[in-house]
């Protein structure tokens, strides 16, 4: 009950005209960065960060989280209408969302996407409300072996369920690991893979990789496909929205399962991208008619969207209570937190309840505001993409390069982004998944640090990963995620049936 009282206090902090206006501004800006390919939520948030230094922390976090919600919604819009994921986490939405739009069911697809996204976000926030007190104590049980087990679980789920062939996922992940190890190694204090090249000393930022891989890579592909977006005119009328809303409860199994996956992946540092893929794969695997997926199945939109948003909001919890960001955007926000003079950690809940509960209350309101705003503004934002490609493309390139430069104020990063654009193009041509590469870049070095710290703890014995109930459970789930789908595939193969996951 304490939590409910704290939440009410949070609402009293947040419910001011100033904060509601900030929320709306954040959501609108977020939709804008979400709609523009290459300028995802992490970039949007890092571009806005300097503006917040003079604000009080509660206002600042409201602005940034609202921008995040907006970007998640905007990313789904372009996925469905144009088959361009504005966000890495909305890639899975394109699989069924775009076919639906092509069949003239754009309104239905968009409404399903937004409403299920809203549902997922609410599920995530409710969880945070109920568990935050408990998480602060739970956090202290995490040491290096537990962190490694969580990272291991995420990697395992990618190989097992991620979509493309496990072999290609492992290759992409390996490239990501190599990139993540560039720069100063904090465990040995030595410099690695810089080839005495000063610009590489600070490592390669995953933000720059994402700008190149998704933004520039996507542009190169679009150019090849004939210099035009395959846009579909979208009109969202209130009646259609209501009709779709009435259909939503039919998919309650998908909604609940996807929320659970999303929340889990948000709390463990898997992140929204991993969550949406995993949720799509699970929906397809458990469907009575998996063949319908990829051809305009509403459940193929609902599953990734719900999980994406549930993970996005649940990711705030490990950021605040443990100091580990559950998503790329959460990582950027955590940087912000420190600049505003707040130290993420268990004491944040005790020392700054106004901030923590203000943030949680703003997540309830922010998502409601976002759903309303997004349904109202879809036609406007969609019309951006009616502008001829020859005008939009150079603008996107410019935005990508400005974004890349802003990350570390280094010219060198522009070239890195360009190089990643080519990598992204080649990956897509050869049908290698990009998500495992990004994942390995984001948490690869943390996983390595956690593993090596564990080895220092145990003086080189692997038994430390089975030394208590918590770490054993996490490792067991990880191994199961790694092995089970492979067994499933083998048995399907033996029985001579086409593996279900191949089409993903």
């Amino acid at each position: 009950m304490d939590n409910i009282a704290s939440l009410m206090h949070g609402f009293s902090v947040v419910l001011t005209t100033h904060h509601i206006l900030l929320m709306m501004a954040g959501v609108l800006l977020g939709i804008l960065v979400g709609v523009l390919p290459g300028l995802g939520a992490p970039n949007g948030v890092s571009l806005m960060l300097p503006l917040t230094f003079t604000m009080d922390p509660v206002s600042a976090i409201i602005l940034l989280t609202s921008l995040y919600w907006g970007a998640l919604f905007g990313g789904s819009t372009t996925s469905i209408l144009f088959n361009i994921p504005g966000e890495p986490s909305s890639v899975a939405t394109t699989f069924d969302g775009h076919p639906m739009a092509k069949q003239g069911r754009a309104t239905e697809a968009l409404s399903f996407a937004f409403l299920s996204a809203g549902f997922g976000a609410m599920a995530g926030v409710i969880l945070i409300t109920l568990l935050s007190g408990w998480v602060a104590n739970f956090a202290l049980r995490f040491s290096s072996p537990e962190y490694f087990a969580v990272y291991f679980m995420t990697f395992a789920s990618f190989i097992g369920l991620g979509g493309a062939s496990p072999f290609k996922s492992i290759v992409a992940m390996g490239v990501g690991f190599a990139l993540a190890s560039i720069g100063m190694d904090s465990v040995s204090g030595n410099v690695r893979l810089t080839f005495e090249f000063d610009a590489l000393l600070a490592g390669v930022s995953f933000l720059i990789a994402v700008i190149g891989l998704f933004g520039i890579g996507e542009l190169l592909l679009t150019m090849e496909q004939g210099l035009k977006f395959e846009g579909v005119a979208a009109k969202v009328s209130v009646r259609d929205v209501l009709r779709t809303a009435a259909k939503l409860p039919r998919y309650w199994v998908a909604l609940l399962r996807s929320s659970a996956i999303g929340i889990w992946m948000g709390i463990t540092p898997g992140g929204p991208t991993a969550a949406s893929f995993m949720s799509y794969a699970m929906a397809k695997r458990s469907s009575r008619d998996p063949a319908k997926f990829g051809k305009g199945e509403p459940e193929g939109v609902i599953a990734p969207e719900t999980a994406d948003h549930a993970a996005g909001s649940a990711a705030m919890l490990p950021m605040l209570a443990l100091g580990i960001p559950g998503s790329a955007t959460a990582a950027v926000m955590m940087g912000g937190l420190m600049i505003w003079g707040l130290n993420p950690g268990p004491m944040l809940f005790i020392e700054r309840p106004d901030f923590v509960w203000g943030l949680i209350a703003s997540m309830y309101l922010g998502n409601v505001v976002a759903v309303v705003v997004v349904l109202a503004t879809v036609p406007i934002f969609a019309s951006i993409l009616k502008i001829p490609f020859s005008i939009v493309a150079p603008l996107i390139v410019m935005i990508c390069f400005i974004g890349a430069y802003t990350v570390g104020s280094k010219e060198f990063d522009i070239w890195v982004a360009l190089a990643f654009g080519l990598v992204g193009y080649v990956f897509k041509k050869l049908d290698y998944p990009i998500a495992p590469l990004v994942l390995a870049m984001v948490i690869g070095d943390k996983a390595e640090d956690a593993f090596r710290q564990s080895m220092i703890f145990s003086q080189g014995s692997l038994s430390i990963f089975w030394s208590n109930a918590l770490v054993s459970t996490l490792m067991a789930i990880g191994l199961a995620l790694l092995v089970l789908p492979l067994i499933g595939r083998v048995s399907l193969f033996v029985r001579g049936r086409k593996p279900v996951l191949n089409a993903l």
Partner: protein, 331 residues
Amino acid sequence: MKTFSITAAITGAIAFGGAGAAQAWQPTKPVEFVVTSGAGGGTDNFARMIQSIISKHKLIDQSIVVVNKGGGSGAEGYIHGKGGKGDAHRVIFGTNNAYLLPYVAKLGYKFSDLTPVAALALDEFLLWVKGDSPYADAKSFVEAAKAKPMGFKMGGSQSKDTDQTLTSMIQDVTGAKMIYVPFQGGSAAAVQLAGGHIDSNVNNPNENIGQWKAGQVKPLCVFSPVRLAKGEPVFDGKGWGDIPTCKEAGLPIETFQMPRTVWLPAEVPADAVTFYEGVLEKVSQTPEWKEFVTRTAQTGRFMKGKELTDFVAKDDAANKKVFEAEGWIAK
């Protein structure tokens, strides 16, 4: 009247002196503050505090841009500083890592690529254990650690950096053998100690204060020649000033402190160095700075010129001795 004319003369002299210095060297474009740590780190707070004091008291006419270049334990920032050779519009903020980093890793800069300007404070190190641990003082902790070689885990921030150097010194004077576990930063080492995953850490006051307030950790002694300034009680009626020095507590390490330092690139005009010395000395006398030093439980000490170079030489030699004994010197 006589008093008045003397006062007038003195005022005139000061004004003239000020004007003279101003003519000698003044920034002619925005000044870049290079921070050799990520946003939110100790060095970041140090630089941003000075930036806000300078702009509040209008000590520099030009605007100030702060950039974080914390890659490679801060080497990124110093290399950026080296790139500004001869340009006194690039001011670099760091610690003793400016002269210690090039020993332990092969990096793209040497200490001679920097011009020393000033140090403004000394950050303190303390020996911390878990709040409910049975050790009441440093002596009993050291005895327990000695009785169980490689049984105690000391956590710290980074590798071959101040925390590990101090750990190595403790082992050297006491004969205890501990396992050193490097974490990403002081805050991680603080949480790991609070959770009981490590037995001790040697965090700076500011890194552990959150956990001390909650009673999750407790300080045993401070590696300083004298006790810290008396302040507000933090936990259980005890404040910073109640912590014994390590020497009184039976851990014979006289002093281990980390200077908060300011540098310019090599080959800058001598009067530019004088200009920044003057600005920073004024900063160190403001109430805002004194409040900052007290709040973060650092020791305020302004050093420039010979005092600074002597300090650096002594600190450099003491650390180098440990690096050599541990075999950390990069070839």
